[in-house]
Amino acid sequence: MPDAPGLELIRGEINDVCADAILETSFEHDQATLIADPEKILEVLSWLRDTAGQEYTFLSSLHVADYLPAEPRFGVHYELLNRDRVERIRVRAALAGPQPASRPGIPGRIPARPGSPVADAPSEEMPGSGSAEMPGGDSELPQLPSCVGLFPTADFFEREAYDFFGIAFRGHPDLRRILMPEDYVGWPQRRDFPVGGEPVTFTHNEQLDSGA
């Protein structure tokens, strides 16, 4: 791991190349973190990947944390690894949450499930042919550029981040929900999304519904 002074050096060098890309650094539990401007995240990642002497070429994980009520609310974490020196470094893109004015139905639990899911299943689109439409509208979601071009492994990770936190990765080749059903509404891993109350569809309560 780079130590705390080494981290400051990295911060200075990145900010020389790309002004104000690194907002802050943190060092805890032997873990170095660069807190970056989400709009400049690609510059930061490619600098860390390609600069001689850095070469963090392996992306171990990409995950999101919701720091509610702190602002900026979301942290998109990139766990980078240099395998020769066995050093990890974390980059956190500090991403502001959705704007309060445009939040109709975002965390809300709308069981908008047309008909029975069983009947819908055969007509479901084959993956890949579907368009990357975003329920809730593109513009409302926090956005940052996709790093699939730099790290192909980020493909599924970014889909997962989109699926659970509603974070739109611009330029992702195929941004669809990955684990939740395609017709699901809401971003379930956000901290303001309530636990429980999910209507569970079984065959017996389906018949009751269809009788009405």
Binding site: E28, H29, Q31, T57, F58, L59, S60, S61, H63, A65, Y67, H77, E79, R83, V86, R88, R90, M126, P127, G128, F151, P152, T153, F156, E160, R177, I178, L179, M180, P181, P188, Q189, R191, F193, V195
Partner: protein
């Protein structure tokens, strides 16, 4: 999550270089496979583009077994999360526990006793054998070697018997605790374990005798599904798949955790990274795991099996009826749980399928 993904990339690897010659004019056919299919060994849907018998493209559709574990964990105290993380994977529950417990231990800066480190290593390596045996049995089953399944599951059952003896459960044992392991191994465990480790190398020989000279098995694995080392690294694949391409990358060696620095073992690697290399690497890893277990039981240090820190670790049962203080600690730990200071950590260990990381964000509650 990541295991599913890795499994998916493994299947994806079977696109190029298959050894079947096909006519150039043959058509592509798109076939839906799963989510329930006997060959997926779990709920996984694959949309496959076939050209004759050769898979040209494959899109995995996952999420059928998603249960929102992270969301459920948010509402529970730290010690109640251990059973959750175990159930993410029924083949490597000890590794999931270690990734999570180890992350907490680093957050609260709690050093675990040497005996606990060794006991964890013994159980994790048994678990690695168990995981590889299930892989061996089911993979051989899928290429037609049905009897392998029963041989592999016979040894797997011995391992589960050992787990039952030391932890009380065959699967999802909740054995690792923050600070160590919940109970010391019982009398007689060591003898049974040594019987197993003495027998296991012979069993691996037998598996190889069954498969390694089997013309059908060789034809269906050699030269099939080779993926280059560079591509695997781009895709973030580690573990036996990466090692099969000749890359000796193993987190047990590069990051010192638990008792691994004290133990001698090799990292088996392959050469070309096809299905056959992956088979050879995993077989060799089973032999290495047996060596690790033998060394760990030989060098098992005396002493406590769990740290003596009453703020995080339950007091011994015997003290509860005599010590008021122990009773209070027990009550507080069970009802409220302990607090972890604010912070975040990412900790990764080497699971049977490569890097298994646990990211933990604590807000101090």
């Amino acid at each position: 999550m990541s295991t599913i993904e890795k499994a998916a990339t493994e299947v994806e690897g079977s696109v190029p270089g298959a050894s079947v010659s096909i006519e150039p004019e043959s058509e592509l056919m798109t076939i839906n496979m799963g989510p329930h299919h006997p060959a997926t060994h779990g709920v996984l849907r694959l949309v496959v583009e076939l050209e004759g018998e050769v898979v040209r493209d494959l899109k995995p559709v996952i999420g059928y077994v998603h249960t929102g574990i992270e969301k459920s964990c948010e509402a529970h105290s730290y010690w109640k999360v251990i059973p959750f993380v175990e159930r993410m994977d029924y083949l490597s529950y000890f590794f999931n526990m270690e990734a999570f417990c180890g992350a907490i231990e680093r957050m609260i800066e709690l050093e675990i006793p040497a005996r606990a480190k060794y006991l964890r290593v013994i159980h994790m390596e048994l678990n690695r054998l168990h995981s590889h045996l299930v892989w061996l049995g089911t993979s051989a089953l899928d290429v037609g070697a049905i009897s392998m399944l029963w041989y592999a599951f016979r040894e797997r059952d011995t391992i589960l018997d050992l787990f039952e003896m030391s932890t009380g459960q065959r699967m999802h044992t909740r054995y690792f605790q923050v600070g160590g392991v919940i109970e010391d191994i019982p009398l007689g465990f060591e003898r049974k374990l040594r019987e197993f480790t003495a027998e296991m190398p012979t069993r691996v020989d037998q598996y190889e005798a069954l498969l390694d000279r089997n013309e059908i098995f060789l034809q269906r694995t050699k030269g099939v599904g080779a993926v280059s080392r560079e591509r695997l690294l781009e895709l973030g694949v580690t573990g036996p798949l990466l090692r099969a391409t000749g890359e000796p990358w193993d987190l047990r060696k590069v990051f010192d955790y638990l008792a691994y620095p004290d133990l001698e073992f090799g990292i088996p690697v392959g050469t070309v990274g096809d299905c056959y290399d992956r088979f050879r690497v995993r077989m060799a890893e089973m032999r290495e795991s047996v060596k690790i277990i033998e060394q760990a039981i030989d060098g098992l240090p005396e002493g406590p099996h769990i740290a003596d820190d009453r703020k995080y670790v339950l007091p011994p049962r015997s003290e509860l009826s005599t010590s008021m203080e122990a009773l209070i600690h027990h009550f507080k730990l069970v009802t409220e749980g302990y607090r972890v200071p604010p912070g975040e950590i990412y900790r990764a260990i080497e699971s049977p399928r490569g890097e298994l990381g646990c990211y933990l964000l604590a807000d101090g509650s």
